[in-house]
């Protein structure tokens, strides 16, 4: 178990290093005077002149050789000094804190909803495999998976926010604002996970130990609960890890579409405005969350199956 944590810790450091390096390269490759942009972010564009830009240049040491700047950049990163955004001059960590809360709310809601959909649906499909429900769910899942997630969001907006008027179109603040974005995300996640649940349940139901247990005299239900769940839990939870990628990517898209002020929206917005410190901050946060949740999943899988049979 310690090995898992150590391994993920190294991965976290690699994430920080790669994000830091990429954003540093981005910083240097942008056209125009970086000192000017930073000064303008602090004082407003109307108020900036070359004197202010020079002051910023001296303050941040933007004239040192590249290697020194790179090391300084990484050093700042290690000390969690993420700088200030170029758009408003506010500290990046402060912005991230605001955004993180919103993103976590959306992500957890989406995961919960997708679990509520996928688990019962998958199990039912496996119990009545090859039946009408199974086929219908296969078709629906294929259809949903062939769309970019923002298309699902768009269709939901058109149907429920516009035509029926049940939910607000975009923004945040009340519980109603949360529903459409989380449902859109949940649907795109559940489309994959319900088939995974179905397949693992199916395998369990038709496995040797299951049959044996039935022969022993236990009812189907007892067998399922006593033997089946734990065995099928492992691939399902592992699949959650893969789902995570879809979740993070979906968050960027859905937050953009619904103007949900989370980290994904922050990243897209920062890239759009070439706000390099913010790009670094949001990409780093997303990456670290990803590693953190993967660690949790690894630990849960280990607890469920100490044999660690999976690759």
């Amino acid at each position: 178990m310690g090995k898992i944590v150590l391994h993920r810790l190294v991965q976290a450091m690699m994430v920080a290093w790669s994000v830091g390096t990429l954003t540093f390269v981005l910083l240097r490759s942008l056209p125009g005077d970086m000192a000017y942009r930073i000064a303008a972010g602090r004082y407003g564009y109307d108020n900036v002149d070359s004197a202010a830009a020079d002051a910023v240049r001296a303050e941040l040491g933007l004239e040192r050789p590249v290697l020194e700047q790179y090391l300084g950049w990484l050093g700042d990163l290690l000390q969690f000094n993420l700088g200030t955004t170029l758009v408003s001059g506010a500290p990046v960590s402060q912005e991230l804190q605001h955004q993180l809360g919103h993103s976590l709310l959306l992500a957890s809601m989406a995961l919960l909803l997708s679990a509520f959909i996928a688990l019962p649906l998958g199990i039912l499909c496996a119990l009545k495999s090859q039946g009408k429900l199974d086929l219908a769910s296969l078709i629906a899942s294929s259809l949903l998976r062939a769309q970019p997630v923002f298309v699902i969001g768009l269709i939901l907006i058109l149907a429920f926010a516009l035509h029926l008027g049940w939910f607000p179109v975009a923004g945040f603040g009340t519980a109603l604002h949360l529903i459409l974005p989380s449902v859109a995300l949940a649907l795109s996640l559940a489309a994959v996970s319900n088939r995974v649940v179905r397949n693992s349940t199916y395998e369990v139901l038709h496995s040797a130990y299951f049959e044996f247990s039935r022969i022993k005299g236990l009812t189907a239900r007892q067998t399922f609960l006593r033997h089946g769940l734990r065995n099928m839990a492992v691939p399902v939870v592992a699949c959650m890890g893969i789902q995570l990628v879809g979740l993070i990517e979906g968050i960027v898209m859905i937050e953009s579409l619904f103007s949900w002020p989370g980290i994904g929206h922050g990243l897209a917005h920062a890239i759009f405005s070439r706000d390099v410190p913010m790009i670094q901050g949001t990409a780093l946060t997303l990456g670290l969350i990803f590693v953190f949740i993967n660690t949790l999943i690894d630990l849960v899988c280990h607890w469920l199956d100490p044999r660690d049979n999976r690759e």
Partner: protein, 520 residues
């Protein structure tokens, strides 16, 4: 083991319980103390990130949180606001303002000469319209009298004092170094929730010196995507939505819960050119670009406002600077190609013009805050391709334009310039076309006659001469084309039918919330 079994047996029921609990919890956490019926919701594309009046002050005056010394009416004439009257001395080097004595800021501080001097002093210390004015001193000549002394006569001073950057804040709003730490103004509304960059809530100020507002609460929401804003208007989520995009107009006009207002404002969509660029430094090159544009098509098919083509920079509403007799702009690609051929450009193999082995390639930057700009940029790209100019369109942040101007990297930019940003257009003209050009004005373009005339106009008080000189400047700008006009701007606003008394400010200084009423 047994406990786990029992848990699992009741799983479906427990599922259900959890779900209900979560839903209920979610609904409660979302509850606001706001009564949605009595809150006016306004949506627009602009974000606000700081309390500094020089940066985002326009949002605070529009939401009527703060006020300026003077106001302007719909025709641009000066009106009293925090200053109840004003006089200009004989030699026109001194302006005296008599302040109202019944104004109280939102924190209870009364307005007096010292508070005004503090605010104006901070505004003057930052580059802006007040800083550009030839002001030598701002002093108190009484508890409620302020005198501004100039080194030279300056006509636009009154309009400058109506500009949002000179808004008057309570002295407690400033920190020791002059930065604004809280938004304490004197307007009919006070700040109740500040959530940059998206949300701003305001509440009625019951101690306002003027007529009391009828709507108790209002809020401003930033909506980045134009489609979302249109959808918010349709669904009733927002009562007033500014800067609608052209495609939504048809569907919104037929919606039965709102009215669409189309208002021509003194804003022009134009191409800012780097007149120092080797491809653009000859006036014939700039004229060729102008001749290639299909303004009629853009106005009719893209903006859906036929007739808004612009043949000059200043719109008709700013009468003094508008050349009524100027011929409409024609699209003449043949003439354009001829002009470019005169300058030595020859058609290359891929259709792009070549000169000394260099292709005629330019980078056009624009921003998406105004939804029509990227669309027009794509159209212009195709129209210039027809005459052999290859344009690369880059949709970026509006801050790229001042920064591109300052570091000289800007080649072409498509912007929507507000010539009415200071109610007296001379202020904008000086900023954009004075010596050295301006961030949103001419770049690397110098015309001594224009600079001289603009400087003279600041002091010119004879009506006839003023008109003559202004028209001459307009003519020179139309001939030399440091900026190429495309179309005039029509502000499209969706107003819910529940809103009574909606009024639009062509100078975009105020949303006039205090005059509106919400019907149930």
């Amino acid at each position: 083991m047994r406990a786990r079994l029992i848990f699992r047996r009741h799983l479906p029921r427990q599922y259900g319980h959890m779900m209900v609990m979560l839903l209920v919890a979610g609904l409660f956490t979302g509850c606001h103390s706001e009564d949605p019926k009595k809150t006016l919701t306004i949506g627009g594309p602009f974000e606000f990130t700081s309390l500094d009046p020089a940066k985002d002050g326009y949002i605070y005056t529009r939401m009527q949180l703060t006020e300026t010394l003077l106001d302007v009416d719909a025709q641009g004439a000066l009106r009293p606001s925090l200053a109840k009257n004003w006089t200009v001395s004989e030699d026109r080097l001194s302006w005296q303002f008599e302040l109202r004595d019944d104004v109280i800021f939102h924190d209870g501080t009364p307005l007096d000469a010292d508070t005004v001097i503090k605010s104006l002093g901070v505004a003057r210390s930052k580059p802006g319209p007040l800083n550009k004015a030839p002001v030598t001193a701002i002093a108190a000549t009484g508890t409620h009298r302020v005198e501004i002394e100039l080194s030279a006569p300056y006509n636009p001073l009154g309009a400058v004092l109506a500009h949002y950057s000179t808004q008057i804040l309570s002295p407690t709003a400033y920190a020791a170094d002059g930065t604004v730490t809280s938004l304490v103004g004197s307007g009919p509304y006070r700040l109740s929730q500040y959530a940059p960059p998206h949300k701003l809530h305001v509440r009625r100020n019951d101690q306002y010196w003027g007529p009391p507002a009828r709507i108790e609460q209002a809020r401003y929401l930033t909506g980045h995507r134009a489609e979302s804003r249109a959808l918010q208007a349709r669904s009733g989520q927002a009562d007033i939505i500014y800067t609608l995009d052209a495609p939504s107009l048809k569907s919104l006009s037929s919606a039965d819960n709102l009215n669409v207002h189309s208002e021509l404002i003194p804003r022009t969509i134009l191409l800012k050119l780097n007149s120092g660029h080797p491809f653009l430094n000859d006036v014939r090159a700039r004229q060729a670009l102008s001749l290639a544009l299909d303004r009629t098509g853009i106005a009719a098919s893209i903006l859906r406002v036929p007739g808004s083509e612009a043949n000059q920079l200043v719109p008709p509403s700013l009468r003094d600077w508008h050349l009524d007799a100027l011929a409409p702009a024609e699209q003449d690609p043949t003439q354009a190609r001829r002009l470019l051929a005169e300058l030595g450009w020859k058609p290359g193999t891929s259709g792009v013009l070549l000169r000394d082995g260099k292709p005629f390639r330019l980078r056009l930057i624009t921003y998406a805050d105004r939804p029509e700009l990227p669309v027009i940029a794509t159209a212009i790209q195709a129209q210039l391709a027809e005459i052999g100019v290859a344009v690369e369109v880059e949709i970026t942040n509006s801050s790229a334009i001042p920064s591109g101007h300052q570091d000289g990297s800007l080649e072409m930019a498509l912007i929507a310039r507000n010539f009415g940003i200071i109610a007296d257009p001379l202020g904008v003209m000086l900023t954009d076309f004075g010596a050295g050009g301006g961030d949103w004005g001419a770049m690397n373009w110098s015309q001594p006659e224009v600079h001289r005339l603009l400087a003279e106009l600041g002091a010119e008080h004879r009506r006839h001469e003023y008109l003559q000189k202004a028209q001459r400047v307009a003519q020179l700008l139309a001939d030399e084309l440091p900026l190429v006009p495309v179309t005039f701007y029509t502000q499209q606003i969706a107003v819910n039918k529940q809103v009574k008394g909606f009024r639009f400010d062509p100078f975009e200084r105020s949303y006039h919330i205090a005059e509106m009423e919400l019907e149930d």
